[in-house]
Structure formats: structure tokens, C-alpha cells
Amino acid sequence: MTAVITVPASLDEQSFEQVLEQVAPLPADAKLLVDARHTRFATPYGLTGLLCLAQSRAEKADFAPPADDEVKSYWSRSSFFRYAEELYTMRGTVPKGRVHQDSDTVLEVTPIAKSEDVHTVVERVKDRATHILTNKLKLETRATMGFTVSLSEACQNIVEHAGRGGWVGVQVYNWAKRRVGRQVVVIAVADAGQGFRQSLSTTRVRALAGDRWGDGEALEAAVTNGYSRHTEPGRGQGIRGIKGYVHRHDGRLSIRSGTSRVTIVPPWDDSPAREDGLPAFVGAQLQIIIPERAEGS
């Protein structure tokens, strides 16, 4: 029997939880149909999350693409179907062939598995990011370099810690949500790997935590306190650098792993700094949001 997983009409970091709530109770080998027919909008977090969902299944899942041609075309321009077609059994047709890049797409959904992939991402993004971020987000050129460096560090988390390939996507939006009321650029990096808890399972911080060790504690250890599974000094600098960049640019950083999420919360957002008890999901999902520079800042 096939379980139908309904993808919300608007798929972003928050609403992706609705997908996971449906999937979490099911065994890994249960047959799924991921039904996105009524989905009208998806962020890079949503698209990369759907690819991770497919990777996490023991039984290849079916996928029903959006019914709306415009939405389907956008997902195609984002390169989602290019990879989804390998990971899912498609129920329905999707646009084929080369399509022009969307003007607000800084980076289409791109696989990350090794160091060379990070170089490819940086090479593809740096000129385009400078153009889009200076024009649309009014960031200084130097800030756009910091953006690409943060993207590089975020992607490296997959290479260094996930134990399995993942995905990255970057998009600019006019984001009315949460009263930001300005353009934002969103980086999503997701993998279906071992997650933070497992990655830190042999560290001192895990030993000290004893029975209190869980996904939330692992995320706090890595994100807040800079712990890494590698014990040599100087590790954990990637996330530290991302946090510094996000803080300087009034941005938001969230990392979800297992059943928890930690968020570096900017003044314009009201997310909790830590959430536990979320539906279980493999790997780690990171999102960075950098808003348009406010007038006079």
C-alpha cells in the first residue's frame, strides 16, 4: 500500500515540517507517493528537502509534480527535476531539456559530495552573486564576497561531516513574510547523511552530556559552541564564520538535524532559538537568509 505525502501549497522551511510529520511515522521501506500537484511555491529549502526525502527512503518513492505549468517550469529552471527524476519515479511529465536561468536564481539546485563540487559552486556563483546582491539587496561588493565564502563553508559541512552527498540552492525573493518587507537571498544546504548527533558521537562534548545527549544538544555544541567531530584545533571555524557573516548583515541562520533546530534569530524574526521534538528526519538542513540592506545602514 502506498502512503500519500501531501506537499503544502507553499513549501518553505516551516511548511516542510508538514511533509516530515507525514513521513516520520512511516517505516523507511514504506512505499510513498510525494504529491506536489497543488504546490504553487517552493524555496530552495523545500526543493533540496524533497531531494533528501527521496534519498532517505529504502523504497524508491513516487513523485507527482506540480500541476501548474508555470510552477513546473520554475522547478525545472531550478534544476530540481534534473535530480528528482533520478531519485523518484515520476508520475506525470516534467519539462525536459535546457531551460534559461531564472533572473532571481543565484544557484540552481546543485549536488555537493566532494571538495571539487564546492569549487564548482563558488565558481558559478561568485560573479552572479555579486551582480544580484549588489543590485537587488544593495549589499557592498565586499559583502557579496563574504556571502560566497559563507556559501562555501555551508557546503563544506556536507563534504566534511555528512558522510553522504547533499544539495545546495540559492534564490532571491521579495519576502513579505514576517514583515521583513524587502528582498532577501536564501541559501539552502541539505543532506540526508548522518546528522549532527551522530557526527559528534565520539567527541568529548558527547561524553560529558551523558544521558542528556540528543539532536538539540549536538546542534548547540556545534553551532553555539563550535565543536566539531575533528579534534584538532581550528576546526569548527566554518560555522563560526557563517554566524559572523549572518550577524553582520542582519541575517537569519537555522540548522535542523534529527528532531531539533537551532536558529540565530535576527530582530525581524520571532523564531525560537531552539526547537526540539520535531518530526525525525535524516541528515542536516541549513538555511541562511540575508535581507536587503536597510536604508541608511
Binding site: 561568485k126 562555501s152 563534504v159 564564520g241
Partner: protein, 184 residues
């Protein structure tokens, strides 16, 4: 002897790719290995100049893998060799990353900016910086002269200059302390 190492050529040699960006820890390991190979045979007391002029982006993981792992053995209680590093062609966006990495390890480095300004970056106290800048101004100086200028007791100044030399930020020539590279 002051050998100049073009970091971009080290990057391309190490990665076997036409990269110009120093990103990822793996890339840092490859570049460091090339640099270590190039400086291995230098005479004691040599200053190797790492030229970043043709480097695009630099991320923290890569910078950490290159700079901290080159500097830590040189500044240990029993240094791996008597050698010095000076960075050249450092852009503003590199500087921010390099400072952050050095501070994590309580290291410092001498860098020459594109406008030829020579600067001490990383973990240094205000007094250390003043002593270092005084030596840079003089080109070479005895501890007494530096102490007079910065208003420190002679012994304290001597100790501070020796510490700067142990940290590979100045060179010691008999009783005098001298800069690593170009004089500001």
C-alpha cells in the same frame, strides 16, 4: 634569501585544476603541502613570501589549513625549523578571514597590503604592536631604543621583542631586532 611563492600557482599545482579561489579544507591541505615542499630546503633564517595577489576568494577552512598549520610548527617551543612567513598581495576580504583564523590559534603574521603598507595581523597586544611598529620604523633596533620610544622598561621591552621574534614576527640579528620584509 626571500623566495616568493605564488599561492595561485601552488593552488593549481596542488589541485591540478585551474582554480583561483582558496576554498575548502581539502584544497588548503593540497596547497599547504606544495608550500611545505617549496620551503623545505630553504636556509635557516629565510623569509618565505606567500603571494596572494592572484587569489580570488579565501574561506576560513582553507585559510586555517594553510596558515595555521604552516605557522604553528614554526612558533612551537621547539620549532620545526628557523623560518619566517610574510604574506603579500592581501586584499581586504582576505585580511578579515586571515585575522579571524590567526586569532583562533593566538597566532600573528606580517602582511604586506597591495598599497605596500606592512601590517601586523592576528593575536597581538597593543604593547606588542607598538614595539613591532617601532622596529619597522627604524629598520633595525636595539631593545633599549625601542623601550625609550614606547615607554616600557628595558627588560620588559627586551622580553616582548624576544617573544615577537619567537612568534616569527621579527628577526633577531645579534642584539638587534629587524623586520622580516620591506620597511614601512
Amino acid at each position: 634569501m626571500t623566495p616568493n611563492i605564488d599561492v595561485r600557482s601552488a593552488l593549481q599545482e596542488g589541485s591540478q585544476q585551474p582554480y583561483s579561489d582558496l576554498v575548502t579544507r581539502r584544497t588548503g591541505q593540497l596547497v599547504r603541502t606544495v608550500i611545505e615542499h617549496r620551503i623545505a630546503d630553504l636556509a635557516d633564517g629565510s623569509v618565505a613570501v606567500l603571494d596572494f595577489s592572484h587569489i580570488g576568494l579565501l574561506d576560513r577552512s582553507c585559510a586555517d589549513e594553510i596558515l595555521s598549520k604552516l605557522m604553528l610548527p614554526l612558533t612551537a617551543d621547539h620549532p620545526s625549523k628557523d623560518g619566517y612567513l610574510l604574506l603579500r598581495g592581501i586584499a581586504d576580504h582576505h585580511l578579515e578571514i586571515i585575522e579571524a583564523v590567526l586569532e583562533v590559534h593566538e597566532l600573528a603574521l606580517v602582511v604586506q597590503l597591495p598599497n605596500a603598507e606592512v601590517r601586523l595581523v592576528g593575536a597581538v597586544t597593543e604593547k606588542e604592536r607598538r614595539c613591532w611598529e617601532t622596529v619597522m620604523r627604524h629598520g633595525a633596533a636595539l631593545a633599549d631604543a625601542v623601550a625609550d620610544e614606547v615607554g616600557l622598561a628595558c627588560e620588559a621591552c627586551q622580553e616582548m621583542l624576544e617573544r615577537l621574534a619567537r612568534r616569527r614576527l621579527l628577526r633577531r640579528e645579534a642584539d638587534r631586532f629587524v623586520p622580516l620584509g620591506a620597511v614601512a
